[in-house]
Protein backbone atom coordinates (compact mmCIF):
# COMPACT_ATOMS: atom_id res chain seq x y z
CA UNK A 1 0.00 0.00 0.00
CA UNK A 2 1.27 3.47 -0.76
CA UNK A 3 1.28 6.28 1.78
CA UNK A 4 -2.01 7.84 0.65
CA UNK A 5 -3.84 4.60 1.19
CA UNK A 6 -4.28 3.73 -2.46
CA UNK A 7 -2.78 0.56 -3.85
CA UNK A 8 0.70 1.24 -5.20
CA UNK A 9 1.00 1.40 -8.96
CA UNK A 10 2.50 -2.05 -9.58
CA UNK A 11 -0.45 -3.62 -7.76
CA UNK A 12 -2.84 -1.95 -10.15
CA UNK A 13 -1.24 -3.52 -13.21
CA UNK A 14 -3.17 -6.50 -14.52
CA UNK A 15 -1.63 -9.79 -13.43
CA UNK A 16 -1.05 -11.13 -16.91
CA UNK A 17 0.71 -7.91 -17.91
CA UNK A 18 2.82 -7.76 -14.75
CA UNK A 19 4.27 -11.13 -15.70
CA UNK A 20 5.36 -9.99 -19.16
CA UNK A 21 9.10 -9.36 -19.15
CA UNK A 22 10.62 -6.34 -20.84
CA UNK A 23 12.06 -7.27 -24.20
CA UNK A 24 15.71 -8.31 -23.78
CA UNK A 25 16.45 -6.24 -26.86
CA UNK A 26 15.23 -3.13 -25.09
CA UNK A 27 17.63 -3.58 -22.17
CA UNK A 28 20.48 -3.97 -24.58
CA UNK A 29 19.37 -0.97 -26.60
CA UNK A 30 19.41 1.17 -23.45
CA UNK A 31 23.08 0.35 -22.94
CA UNK A 32 24.07 0.82 -26.59
CA UNK A 33 22.32 4.16 -26.86
CA UNK A 34 24.58 5.65 -24.18
CA UNK A 35 27.72 4.87 -26.17
CA UNK A 36 29.38 6.62 -29.07
CA UNK A 37 31.08 5.35 -32.25
CA UNK A 38 29.43 1.97 -32.03
CA UNK A 39 29.08 -0.20 -35.14
CA UNK A 40 25.70 -1.79 -34.69
CA UNK A 41 24.96 -5.24 -36.01
CA UNK A 42 21.93 -5.16 -33.74
CA UNK A 43 19.40 -3.65 -36.07
CA UNK A 44 16.41 -5.67 -37.18
CA UNK A 45 15.36 -3.44 -40.03
CA UNK A 46 16.70 -2.74 -43.51
CA UNK A 47 19.38 -0.08 -43.92
CA UNK A 48 18.05 0.69 -47.38
CA UNK A 49 15.76 3.62 -47.96
CA UNK A 50 12.19 2.79 -48.89
CA UNK A 51 12.18 2.73 -52.73
CA UNK A 52 11.57 6.26 -53.95
CA UNK A 53 8.60 5.23 -56.10
CA UNK A 54 6.87 4.08 -52.88
CA UNK A 55 7.67 7.27 -50.99
CA UNK A 56 6.63 9.34 -53.98
CA UNK A 57 3.30 7.47 -54.06
CA UNK A 58 2.76 8.36 -50.37
CA UNK A 59 3.36 12.03 -51.11
CA UNK A 60 1.01 11.91 -54.08
CA UNK A 61 -1.67 10.20 -51.98
CA UNK A 62 -1.33 12.89 -49.31
CA UNK A 63 -1.67 15.63 -51.91
CA UNK A 64 -4.81 13.95 -53.21
CA UNK A 65 -6.27 14.03 -49.73
CA UNK A 66 -5.97 10.38 -48.76
CA UNK A 67 -6.32 11.18 -45.09
CA UNK A 68 -9.47 9.32 -44.09
CA UNK A 69 -10.50 5.96 -42.68
CA UNK A 70 -10.55 2.95 -44.94
CA UNK A 71 -12.66 -0.19 -44.71
CA UNK A 72 -11.79 -2.20 -41.58
CA UNK A 73 -10.20 -4.84 -43.75
CA UNK A 74 -8.17 -2.27 -45.67
CA UNK A 75 -8.48 -0.65 -49.10
CA UNK A 76 -10.00 -3.13 -51.53
CA UNK A 77 -7.43 -2.23 -54.20
CA UNK A 78 -4.66 -3.06 -51.75
CA UNK A 79 -6.26 -6.36 -50.75
CA UNK A 80 -6.60 -7.24 -54.43
CA UNK A 81 -2.94 -6.38 -55.03
CA UNK A 82 -1.93 -8.43 -51.98
CA UNK A 83 -3.93 -11.49 -53.05
CA UNK A 84 -2.54 -11.32 -56.58
CA UNK A 85 0.97 -11.00 -55.20
CA UNK A 86 0.62 -13.86 -52.71
CA UNK A 87 -0.79 -16.13 -55.42
CA UNK A 88 1.99 -15.21 -57.84
CA UNK A 89 4.89 -15.26 -55.40
CA UNK A 90 3.90 -18.05 -52.99
CA UNK A 91 1.32 -20.06 -54.89
CA UNK A 92 -1.76 -19.79 -52.66
CA UNK A 93 -4.92 -18.02 -53.80
CA UNK A 94 -7.04 -15.94 -51.41
CA UNK A 95 -10.18 -13.88 -52.05
CA UNK A 96 -9.59 -10.15 -51.63
CA UNK A 97 -13.07 -9.43 -50.25
CA UNK A 98 -13.14 -11.77 -47.27
CA UNK A 99 -9.86 -13.67 -46.93
CA UNK A 100 -7.41 -10.81 -46.46
CA UNK A 101 -7.00 -8.27 -43.66
CA UNK A 102 -4.57 -5.34 -43.69
CA UNK A 103 -3.11 -4.61 -40.26
CA UNK A 104 -0.63 -2.31 -38.56
CA UNK A 105 2.39 -4.54 -39.20
CA UNK A 106 2.61 -8.30 -38.91
CA UNK A 107 2.84 -7.62 -35.17
CA UNK A 108 -0.79 -6.54 -35.05
CA UNK A 109 -1.92 -9.25 -37.44
CA UNK A 110 -0.24 -11.85 -35.23
CA UNK A 111 -1.86 -10.40 -32.10
CA UNK A 112 -5.29 -10.46 -33.77
CA UNK A 113 -4.87 -14.07 -34.84
CA UNK A 114 -3.76 -15.20 -31.39
CA UNK A 115 -6.54 -13.34 -29.62
CA UNK A 116 -9.16 -14.52 -32.11
CA UNK A 117 -8.24 -18.17 -31.71
CA UNK A 118 -6.90 -18.80 -28.21
CA UNK A 119 -9.06 -19.63 -25.21
CA UNK A 120 -7.59 -19.33 -21.71
CA UNK A 121 -5.27 -22.26 -21.09
CA UNK A 122 -4.83 -23.23 -24.72
CA UNK A 123 -1.24 -24.15 -25.50
CA UNK A 124 0.64 -22.57 -28.36
CA UNK A 125 3.79 -24.14 -29.79
CA UNK A 126 6.49 -21.88 -31.16
CA UNK A 127 10.07 -22.67 -32.08
CA UNK A 128 12.88 -20.95 -30.21
CA UNK A 129 15.09 -18.91 -30.59
CA UNK A 130 12.50 -16.68 -32.17
CA UNK A 131 11.20 -13.17 -32.58
CA UNK A 132 10.53 -11.51 -29.24
CA UNK A 133 6.76 -11.08 -29.44
CA UNK A 134 5.37 -14.60 -29.77
CA UNK A 135 5.33 -15.73 -26.14
CA UNK A 136 4.10 -12.35 -24.78
CA UNK A 137 1.25 -12.23 -27.31
CA UNK A 138 0.12 -15.69 -26.27
CA UNK A 139 0.27 -14.72 -22.59
CA UNK A 140 -1.72 -11.54 -23.22
CA UNK A 141 -4.39 -13.76 -24.77
CA UNK A 142 -4.32 -15.94 -21.60
CA UNK A 143 -2.82 -18.80 -23.55
CA UNK A 144 0.18 -20.89 -22.57
CA UNK A 145 3.28 -20.42 -24.73
CA UNK A 146 5.22 -23.66 -25.20
CA UNK A 147 8.68 -23.19 -26.72
CA UNK A 148 10.18 -25.86 -28.94
CA UNK A 149 13.93 -25.40 -28.53
CA UNK A 150 16.03 -25.70 -31.69
CA UNK A 151 19.75 -26.14 -31.88
CA UNK A 152 22.53 -24.78 -34.01
CA UNK A 153 23.81 -28.32 -34.47
CA UNK A 154 20.83 -29.00 -36.76
CA UNK A 155 20.95 -25.59 -38.42
CA UNK A 156 17.95 -24.45 -36.32
CA UNK A 157 15.62 -26.40 -38.57
CA UNK A 158 12.30 -27.32 -37.08
CA UNK A 159 11.63 -31.05 -37.21
CA UNK A 160 8.54 -33.08 -36.54
CA UNK A 161 10.36 -34.93 -33.74
CA UNK A 162 11.05 -31.68 -31.89
CA UNK A 163 7.37 -30.73 -32.18
CA UNK A 164 6.12 -34.14 -31.05
CA UNK A 165 8.07 -33.77 -27.81
CA UNK A 166 6.09 -30.67 -26.82
CA UNK A 167 2.59 -31.30 -28.14
CA UNK A 168 -0.20 -32.12 -25.66
CA UNK A 169 -3.97 -32.56 -25.96
CA UNK A 170 -4.29 -28.87 -25.01
CA UNK A 171 -2.14 -27.67 -27.92
CA UNK A 172 -4.23 -25.58 -30.26
CA UNK A 173 -1.81 -23.56 -32.35
CA UNK A 174 1.65 -23.60 -33.88
CA UNK A 175 3.55 -20.40 -34.73
CA UNK A 176 6.12 -20.65 -37.52
CA UNK A 177 8.65 -18.08 -38.68
CA UNK A 178 10.81 -19.03 -41.65
CA UNK A 179 13.07 -17.54 -42.90
CA UNK A 180 13.80 -17.02 -39.25
CA UNK A 181 14.71 -14.08 -37.09
CA UNK A 182 17.24 -14.48 -35.39
CA UNK A 183 18.82 -17.60 -36.91
CA UNK A 184 18.27 -17.06 -40.65
CA UNK A 185 17.14 -20.69 -40.88
CA UNK A 186 14.82 -21.71 -43.68
CA UNK A 187 12.88 -24.82 -44.54
CA UNK A 188 12.79 -26.86 -47.71
CA UNK A 189 9.67 -28.58 -49.00
CA UNK A 190 10.31 -31.84 -47.16
CA UNK A 191 10.65 -29.98 -43.82
CA UNK A 192 7.47 -28.02 -44.48
CA UNK A 193 5.54 -31.15 -45.44
CA UNK A 194 6.61 -32.91 -42.26
CA UNK A 195 5.47 -29.95 -40.14
CA UNK A 196 2.19 -29.81 -42.07
CA UNK A 197 1.56 -33.52 -41.44
CA UNK A 198 2.13 -32.86 -37.74
CA UNK A 199 -0.29 -29.93 -37.70
CA UNK A 200 -2.99 -31.90 -39.50
CA UNK A 201 -2.61 -34.95 -37.28
CA UNK A 202 -2.91 -32.87 -34.12
CA UNK A 203 -5.58 -30.61 -35.63
CA UNK A 204 -3.62 -27.39 -35.03
CA UNK A 205 -4.05 -23.94 -36.47
CA UNK A 206 -0.78 -22.62 -37.90
CA UNK A 207 0.24 -18.97 -37.79
CA UNK A 208 2.94 -18.64 -40.40
CA UNK A 209 4.98 -15.44 -40.11
CA UNK A 210 6.64 -15.26 -43.54
CA UNK A 211 7.79 -11.64 -43.31
CA UNK A 212 11.27 -12.50 -44.62
CA UNK A 213 10.10 -14.70 -47.52
CA UNK A 214 11.47 -12.48 -50.29
CA UNK A 215 14.85 -12.41 -48.57
CA UNK A 216 15.64 -16.06 -49.29
CA UNK A 217 19.13 -16.67 -50.66
CA UNK A 218 19.49 -20.44 -50.71
CA UNK A 219 16.82 -22.44 -52.49
CA UNK A 220 13.26 -21.17 -52.80
CA UNK A 221 10.95 -20.12 -50.02
CA UNK A 222 8.18 -22.69 -49.49
CA UNK A 223 5.00 -21.42 -47.86
CA UNK A 224 3.25 -23.98 -45.67
CA UNK A 225 -0.03 -22.77 -47.16
CA UNK A 226 0.87 -24.62 -50.37
CA UNK A 227 0.91 -28.05 -48.71
CA UNK A 228 -2.42 -29.84 -49.38
CA UNK A 229 -4.73 -29.55 -46.39
CA UNK A 230 -2.94 -26.52 -44.90
CA UNK A 231 -4.62 -23.54 -46.53
CA UNK A 232 -7.75 -24.12 -44.45
CA UNK A 233 -5.90 -24.21 -41.12
CA UNK A 234 -3.22 -21.58 -41.69
CA UNK A 235 -3.10 -17.85 -41.13
CA UNK A 236 -0.51 -16.53 -43.61
CA UNK A 237 1.18 -13.42 -42.23
CA UNK A 238 3.24 -11.09 -44.30
CA UNK A 239 4.00 -7.39 -44.71
CA UNK A 240 6.06 -4.66 -46.27
CA UNK A 241 8.68 -3.92 -43.62
CA UNK A 242 11.53 -6.12 -44.73
CA UNK A 243 11.60 -6.72 -48.50
CA UNK A 244 10.38 -3.20 -49.32
CA UNK A 245 12.24 -1.52 -46.44
CA UNK A 246 9.02 0.02 -45.11
CA UNK A 247 9.28 -0.64 -41.35
CA UNK A 248 8.03 2.80 -40.33
CA UNK A 249 4.94 2.49 -42.51
CA UNK A 250 3.78 -0.21 -40.10
CA UNK A 251 1.91 -2.29 -42.63
CA UNK A 252 1.29 -6.02 -42.62
CA UNK A 253 -1.50 -8.37 -43.57
CA UNK A 254 -3.09 -11.71 -42.89
CA UNK A 255 -4.55 -14.11 -45.45
CA UNK A 256 -6.71 -16.93 -44.13
CA UNK A 257 -10.08 -18.63 -44.61
CA UNK A 258 -13.01 -16.19 -44.28
CA UNK A 259 -14.21 -17.28 -40.81
CA UNK A 260 -10.74 -16.65 -39.34
CA UNK A 261 -10.36 -13.30 -41.05
CA UNK A 262 -13.83 -12.33 -39.85
CA UNK A 263 -12.91 -13.19 -36.26
CA UNK A 264 -9.69 -11.18 -36.49
CA UNK A 265 -11.57 -8.29 -38.06
CA UNK A 266 -13.99 -8.15 -35.11
CA UNK A 267 -11.05 -7.35 -32.80
CA UNK A 268 -9.28 -5.10 -35.31
CA UNK A 269 -12.40 -2.95 -35.89
CA UNK A 270 -12.58 -1.99 -32.22
CA UNK A 271 -8.90 -1.77 -31.36
CA UNK A 272 -7.39 -0.28 -34.52
CA UNK A 273 -10.31 0.45 -36.85
CA UNK A 274 -8.02 0.34 -39.88
CA UNK A 275 -4.38 0.61 -40.89
CA UNK A 276 -3.26 4.16 -41.84
CA UNK A 277 -4.48 5.00 -45.32
CA UNK A 278 -1.20 6.61 -46.40
CA UNK A 279 0.65 3.42 -45.64
CA UNK A 280 -1.96 1.45 -47.54
CA UNK A 281 -1.62 3.69 -50.59
CA UNK A 282 2.16 3.30 -50.46
CA UNK A 283 1.80 -0.48 -50.22
CA UNK A 284 -0.31 -0.54 -53.40
CA UNK A 285 2.60 1.06 -55.22
CA UNK A 286 5.09 -1.32 -53.58
CA UNK A 287 3.19 -4.29 -55.00
CA UNK A 288 2.22 -3.01 -58.40
CA UNK A 289 5.57 -1.49 -59.35
CA UNK A 290 8.64 -3.30 -60.67
CA UNK A 291 10.25 -5.88 -58.41
CA UNK A 292 13.75 -4.80 -59.42
CA UNK A 293 14.28 -2.74 -56.27
CA UNK A 294 13.52 -5.72 -54.05
CA UNK A 295 15.90 -7.85 -56.13
CA UNK A 296 18.70 -5.27 -55.79
CA UNK A 297 18.34 -5.23 -52.02
CA UNK A 298 18.29 -9.03 -51.91
CA UNK A 299 21.51 -9.21 -53.95
CA UNK A 300 23.22 -6.74 -51.65
CA UNK A 301 22.11 -8.63 -48.51
CA UNK A 302 23.33 -11.85 -50.08
CA UNK A 303 26.83 -10.45 -50.60
CA UNK A 304 27.02 -9.22 -47.03
CA UNK A 305 25.70 -12.57 -45.80
CA UNK A 306 28.48 -14.36 -47.69
CA UNK A 307 31.03 -12.01 -46.20
CA UNK A 308 29.88 -12.41 -42.59
CA UNK A 309 29.47 -16.18 -42.78
CA UNK A 310 33.01 -16.49 -44.13
CA UNK A 311 34.32 -14.07 -41.51
CA UNK A 312 32.86 -16.12 -38.64
CA UNK A 313 34.07 -19.37 -40.19
CA UNK A 314 37.57 -17.87 -40.47
CA UNK A 315 37.41 -16.91 -36.79
CA UNK A 316 36.61 -20.52 -35.96
CA UNK A 317 33.13 -19.70 -34.65
CA UNK A 318 30.60 -22.35 -35.71
CA UNK A 319 27.86 -20.81 -37.83
CA UNK A 320 25.05 -22.54 -39.69
CA UNK A 321 24.45 -20.99 -43.09
CA UNK A 322 21.51 -18.60 -42.88
CA UNK A 323 19.17 -19.25 -45.79
CA UNK A 324 17.16 -16.08 -45.46
CA UNK A 325 16.29 -12.90 -43.51
CA UNK A 326 19.31 -10.70 -42.70
CA UNK A 327 20.86 -12.31 -39.65
CA UNK A 328 23.81 -14.52 -38.89
CA UNK A 329 23.63 -16.40 -35.58
CA UNK A 330 27.12 -17.73 -34.83
CA UNK A 331 27.95 -19.82 -31.80
CA UNK A 332 30.21 -18.28 -29.19
CA UNK A 333 29.68 -21.17 -26.78
CA UNK A 334 33.31 -22.30 -26.75
CA UNK A 335 34.66 -18.98 -25.49
CA UNK A 336 33.67 -19.26 -21.84
CA UNK A 337 31.18 -16.39 -21.73
CA UNK A 338 27.41 -16.28 -21.66
CA UNK A 339 25.94 -14.62 -24.72
CA UNK A 340 24.96 -11.58 -22.61
CA UNK A 341 28.50 -11.22 -21.21
CA UNK A 342 29.97 -11.72 -24.67
CA UNK A 343 27.73 -9.05 -26.16
CA UNK A 344 28.40 -6.59 -23.31
CA UNK A 345 32.16 -7.04 -23.44
CA UNK A 346 32.22 -6.88 -27.23
CA UNK A 347 30.36 -3.61 -26.94
CA UNK A 348 32.61 -2.18 -24.23
CA UNK A 349 35.94 -3.38 -25.60
CA UNK A 350 35.41 -3.14 -29.36
CA UNK A 351 32.38 -0.90 -29.79
CA UNK A 352 30.42 -3.48 -31.77
CA UNK A 353 26.77 -4.12 -30.90
CA UNK A 354 25.45 -7.63 -31.51
CA UNK A 355 22.33 -8.86 -29.76
CA UNK A 356 22.80 -11.66 -27.20
CA UNK A 357 21.05 -14.83 -28.34
CA UNK A 358 19.10 -15.05 -25.09
CA UNK A 359 17.06 -12.00 -26.16
CA UNK A 360 15.32 -14.52 -28.44
CA UNK A 361 14.65 -17.12 -25.77
CA UNK A 362 16.66 -19.36 -23.48
CA UNK A 363 17.71 -21.62 -26.34
CA UNK A 364 19.53 -18.68 -27.93
CA UNK A 365 22.20 -19.04 -25.19
CA UNK A 366 25.65 -19.52 -26.66
CA UNK A 367 24.90 -17.39 -29.72
CA UNK A 368 24.86 -13.76 -30.81
CA UNK A 369 22.67 -12.28 -33.52
CA UNK A 370 24.50 -10.18 -36.09
CA UNK A 371 22.36 -8.28 -38.55
CA UNK A 372 23.79 -7.63 -41.99
CA UNK A 373 21.25 -4.91 -42.70
CA UNK A 374 24.26 -2.63 -42.25
CA UNK A 375 26.63 -1.03 -44.75
CA UNK A 376 29.30 -3.37 -46.13
CA UNK A 377 32.15 -1.20 -44.85
CA UNK A 378 30.72 -1.36 -41.33
CA UNK A 379 30.34 -5.12 -41.61
CA UNK A 380 33.98 -5.40 -42.66
CA UNK A 381 35.20 -3.24 -39.79
CA UNK A 382 32.96 -5.06 -37.31
CA UNK A 383 34.40 -8.39 -38.49
CA UNK A 384 37.92 -7.15 -37.80
CA UNK A 385 36.92 -6.03 -34.32
CA UNK A 386 35.04 -9.22 -33.45
CA UNK A 387 38.00 -11.30 -34.61
CA UNK A 388 40.34 -9.26 -32.39
CA UNK A 389 37.98 -9.72 -29.44
CA UNK A 390 37.63 -13.47 -30.00
CA UNK A 391 41.40 -13.89 -30.28
CA UNK A 392 41.86 -12.03 -27.00
CA UNK A 393 39.34 -14.32 -25.31
CA UNK A 394 41.13 -17.39 -26.63
CA UNK A 395 44.54 -16.11 -25.49
CA UNK A 396 43.46 -15.82 -21.85
Amino acid sequence: MSTNGLPSAPDRIALHVRDIPRSGIRDFFDIVSTMRDVISLGIGEPDFDTPWRVREASIFALERGATHYTSNLGLLKLRRAICEYVARAYGTAYRADDECLVAVGVSEAMDLAVRALINPGDEVLYHEPCYVSYAPLVRLAHGVPVPVPLSGATGFRLTREALERRVTPRTKMLILNFPNNPTGAGLDRADVEAIAAFAIEHDLIVLSDEIYAELTYTGRHVSITTVPGMRGRTVFLHGFSKAWAMTGYRLGYACAPAPLIDAMMRIHQYTMLCAPILSQEAAVEALKGPEADVALMREEYDRRRNYLVRAFADMGLPVSEPRGAFYVFPSIAGLGLTSMDFALRLLEEERVAAVPGTAFGASGEGHIRCSYATATDDIKEASVRIRRFVERLRAR
Binding site: G42, R304, N306, V355
Partner: protein, 159 residues
Protein backbone atom coordinates in the same frame (compact mmCIF):
# COMPACT_ATOMS: atom_id res chain seq x y z
CA UNK B 1 25.41 -10.10 -65.83
CA UNK B 2 28.17 -11.83 -63.89
CA UNK B 3 27.67 -10.86 -60.22
CA UNK B 4 31.37 -10.00 -60.14
CA UNK B 5 30.92 -7.32 -62.81
CA UNK B 6 27.85 -5.97 -61.05
CA UNK B 7 29.76 -5.71 -57.78
CA UNK B 8 32.79 -4.08 -59.43
CA UNK B 9 30.62 -1.34 -60.92
CA UNK B 10 29.60 -0.47 -57.34
CA UNK B 11 32.70 -1.31 -55.31
CA UNK B 12 35.72 -1.44 -57.58
CA UNK B 13 38.15 -0.80 -54.72
CA UNK B 14 37.39 -4.04 -52.83
CA UNK B 15 40.39 -6.35 -52.46
CA UNK B 16 40.26 -9.63 -54.31
CA UNK B 17 39.83 -11.45 -50.97
CA UNK B 18 36.87 -9.28 -50.04
CA UNK B 19 35.30 -9.64 -53.49
CA UNK B 20 35.64 -13.39 -53.05
CA UNK B 21 34.07 -13.26 -49.58
CA UNK B 22 31.15 -11.12 -50.76
CA UNK B 23 30.45 -13.45 -53.68
CA UNK B 24 31.24 -16.66 -51.78
CA UNK B 25 33.93 -17.70 -54.24
CA UNK B 26 37.64 -18.46 -54.12
CA UNK B 27 40.06 -15.52 -54.50
CA UNK B 28 41.91 -17.31 -57.34
CA UNK B 29 38.67 -17.62 -59.31
CA UNK B 30 37.95 -13.90 -58.86
CA UNK B 31 41.49 -12.96 -59.88
CA UNK B 32 41.30 -15.09 -63.01
CA UNK B 33 37.91 -13.72 -64.09
CA UNK B 34 38.98 -10.13 -63.55
CA UNK B 35 42.11 -10.68 -65.61
CA UNK B 36 40.02 -12.26 -68.36
CA UNK B 37 37.54 -9.36 -68.40
CA UNK B 38 40.39 -6.87 -68.52
CA UNK B 39 42.16 -8.77 -71.31
CA UNK B 40 38.98 -8.97 -73.40
CA UNK B 41 38.18 -5.30 -72.80
CA UNK B 42 34.90 -6.01 -70.98
CA UNK B 43 36.40 -4.01 -68.13
CA UNK B 44 37.98 -0.85 -69.58
CA UNK B 45 39.10 0.78 -66.38
CA UNK B 46 38.34 1.65 -62.76
CA UNK B 47 37.77 5.20 -61.61
CA UNK B 48 36.52 7.39 -58.82
CA UNK B 49 33.18 9.16 -59.01
CA UNK B 50 33.81 12.76 -57.96
CA UNK B 51 31.65 15.62 -56.93
CA UNK B 52 33.05 17.62 -59.83
CA UNK B 53 31.66 20.89 -58.54
CA UNK B 54 33.83 20.56 -55.45
CA UNK B 55 36.80 18.60 -56.74
CA UNK B 56 37.45 20.31 -60.06
CA UNK B 57 36.70 24.02 -59.96
CA UNK B 58 38.74 24.60 -63.10
CA UNK B 59 36.74 22.31 -65.33
CA UNK B 60 33.94 23.03 -67.76
CA UNK B 61 31.74 20.38 -69.24
CA UNK B 62 29.67 20.93 -72.37
CA UNK B 63 27.06 18.67 -73.87
CA UNK B 64 27.08 18.99 -77.64
CA UNK B 65 24.46 17.64 -79.97
CA UNK B 66 25.97 17.12 -83.40
CA UNK B 67 24.16 16.61 -86.71
CA UNK B 68 26.20 14.83 -89.31
CA UNK B 69 25.79 13.54 -92.83
CA UNK B 70 26.50 9.84 -92.70
CA UNK B 71 29.02 8.62 -95.21
CA UNK B 72 28.23 6.11 -97.93
CA UNK B 73 30.74 3.68 -96.48
CA UNK B 74 31.12 3.64 -92.72
CA UNK B 75 27.84 5.42 -91.88
CA UNK B 76 28.19 7.37 -88.64
CA UNK B 77 31.06 5.31 -87.32
CA UNK B 78 33.81 6.86 -89.39
CA UNK B 79 32.92 10.41 -88.48
CA UNK B 80 32.36 9.46 -84.86
CA UNK B 81 35.77 7.87 -84.61
CA UNK B 82 37.36 11.05 -85.92
CA UNK B 83 35.50 13.10 -83.35
CA UNK B 84 36.48 10.77 -80.54
CA UNK B 85 40.19 11.11 -81.26
CA UNK B 86 40.14 14.57 -79.66
CA UNK B 87 41.06 14.27 -75.98
CA UNK B 88 38.51 16.99 -75.17
CA UNK B 89 35.76 14.48 -75.99
CA UNK B 90 35.11 12.61 -72.73
CA UNK B 91 32.15 10.56 -73.99
CA UNK B 92 30.38 10.18 -77.31
CA UNK B 93 27.17 8.41 -78.22
CA UNK B 94 25.10 7.81 -81.36
CA UNK B 95 21.56 8.78 -80.44
CA UNK B 96 18.08 8.84 -81.92
CA UNK B 97 16.14 12.10 -82.26
CA UNK B 98 17.07 15.50 -83.69
CA UNK B 99 20.81 15.10 -83.40
CA UNK B 100 22.97 12.16 -84.41
CA UNK B 101 25.87 12.33 -81.98
CA UNK B 102 25.84 13.37 -78.36
CA UNK B 103 29.21 14.48 -77.01
CA UNK B 104 30.42 15.32 -73.55
CA UNK B 105 33.30 17.76 -73.89
CA UNK B 106 35.64 18.73 -71.05
CA UNK B 107 37.94 21.73 -70.94
CA UNK B 108 39.60 24.06 -68.44
CA UNK B 109 37.33 27.01 -69.25
CA UNK B 110 34.47 28.20 -71.44
CA UNK B 111 36.67 29.75 -74.06
CA UNK B 112 38.71 26.60 -74.63
CA UNK B 113 35.59 24.53 -75.06
CA UNK B 114 34.03 27.11 -77.38
CA UNK B 115 37.18 27.21 -79.45
CA UNK B 116 37.20 23.44 -79.71
CA UNK B 117 33.63 23.48 -81.04
CA UNK B 118 34.20 26.23 -83.59
CA UNK B 119 37.69 25.36 -84.71
CA UNK B 120 37.87 21.57 -84.46
CA UNK B 121 34.43 20.05 -84.31
CA UNK B 122 32.34 22.16 -86.68
CA UNK B 123 34.89 21.99 -89.45
CA UNK B 124 35.03 18.20 -89.64
CA UNK B 125 33.64 17.24 -93.06
CA UNK B 126 30.17 15.83 -92.62
CA UNK B 127 29.32 17.81 -89.45
CA UNK B 128 26.36 19.97 -90.46
CA UNK B 129 25.26 21.52 -87.16
CA UNK B 130 26.11 21.64 -83.45
CA UNK B 131 24.14 22.76 -80.41
CA UNK B 132 26.15 23.33 -77.25
CA UNK B 133 24.85 23.34 -73.66
CA UNK B 134 27.16 24.05 -70.75
CA UNK B 135 26.70 22.11 -67.58
CA UNK B 136 25.94 24.39 -64.65
CA UNK B 137 25.50 22.11 -61.67
CA UNK B 138 25.61 18.37 -60.98
CA UNK B 139 22.70 16.92 -59.02
CA UNK B 140 23.39 13.25 -59.61
CA UNK B 141 26.26 11.43 -61.25
CA UNK B 142 26.75 7.70 -61.85
CA UNK B 143 23.93 6.92 -59.44
CA UNK B 144 25.29 9.13 -56.65
CA UNK B 145 23.24 12.04 -55.35
CA UNK B 146 25.56 15.04 -54.97
CA UNK B 147 23.48 16.62 -52.24
CA UNK B 148 21.76 13.74 -50.45
CA UNK B 149 19.15 14.70 -47.87
CA UNK B 150 20.03 14.16 -44.20
CA UNK B 151 19.56 10.57 -43.25
CA UNK B 152 16.90 9.73 -40.75
CA UNK B 153 18.55 7.80 -37.96
CA UNK B 154 17.62 4.22 -37.29
CA UNK B 155 17.44 2.83 -33.76
CA UNK B 156 20.80 1.38 -32.76
CA UNK B 157 19.24 -1.93 -31.72
CA UNK B 158 15.84 -3.29 -32.72
CA UNK B 159 14.19 -6.69 -32.70
Amino acid sequence: MDPLLKLLTMRARESVDDLAALLDEKPEAIRARMADYERRGVIRGYRAVLDEDTAAEDKVVAIIEVKVTPEREGGFDHIASRVCRFPEVASAYLVSGQADLLLFIEGPDLRTVARFVSEKLSVIPGVTATATSFMLKTYKSHGFLMDPPDEHERLAVSP
